[in-house]
Amino acid sequence: MESIGIIVAFWALAVTTVGAALGVLVSRNLLHAIFFLITSFLGMAGLFITLSADFIAAAQVLIYAGAISVLLVFAMMLTPLASRDNANSLYLAPGALAGLGLAAIVGFVAVDTPWAELAGSTLAERSFPDTVRTIGAQLIGRYVLAFELASVLLLFALIGAVVLVHDRAAERGAAAAAEEAGTGPREEAT
């Protein structure tokens, strides 16, 4: 059932993802660590595609490889120089412990789940051509209110960002200067 291309793609992507994740740990330069993290995210997106989860793959590329990494890069740009190396952490032992625990859980699930049963009739019953189409139909159908409310949430985030970052005093000064020049807004809506 599984073609050779999928198997090759899986191993290539798995090596990329895990290798890049190791690179995040090993590299001393924080920016290099972020680039390795982006590579790891992209490899994850490829793995999602091999699992026929195309919407999650797109979300992975857009949100993780796009938005999250941009925030990481900006966070690094705004930090003082001294804290910009990928320094040793006090949390090495607890982190290793948590990682091992997580690996044990995932391994247990992988071994314990009866994959053969899932692959048979259940999979044929629930055959879905692609996930995006189903999600899209639900978004403009049953869950249209949530879809529209999501835009309101994003609007709040945008306004919140402006309110937090924007310098009010500078704004007033600039508005007054523009008023004198005759190009500014007619009134200040605050």
């Binding site: 195309d54 139909a137 985030a157 945008l158 600039a174």
Partner: protein, 124 residues
């Protein structure tokens, strides 16, 4: 099946990786074989051979005002992930789907208009 449809993307990705990797690998190989001469000069080893000369290092601290643009990018990036499933299905429910997306984009356009009016997009 989905994975097979992305086979082309995999081929393109492999090509895109090989395209810069081949000359770099060849250059290193020729250097190892002592075929490639090594005559560096200041112009050749400049970061940008033409254009504005780089000043200082890239490791300075950046103005916090850039953060607003990063957040703006993130917000409209998240908007895209909502519009992507809509774009796949919108032809099946043409007019109502268009209206729903118009409301969605309209609310965000209102936010953009607000930001614009507050003159937060200007560099001062």
């Amino acid at each position: 099946m989905i994975p097979e449809e992305f086979g082309r993307a995999a081929v393109l990705t492999a090509f895109a990786l090989a395209f810069p990797a081949l000359p770099l690998g060849a250059s290193y190989l020729f250097y190892r074989l002592k075929i490639r001469p090594s005559n560096p000069d200041p112009v050749k080893s400049a970061t940008y051979e033409c254009g504005v000369e780089a000043e200082g290092t890239a490791w300075g601290r950046f103005n916090v005002r850039y953060y607003l643009f990063a957040l703006g990018f993130v917000i409209f990036d998240v908007e895209v992930i909502f519009l992507y499933p809509w774009a796949v299905v919108h032809q099946e429910a043409a007019l109502s789907a268009l209206l729903k997306a118009a409301i969605f984009v309209g609310v965000l356009a209102f936010g953009l208009a607000y930001v614009w009016r507050r003159r937060a997009l200007e560099w001062r």
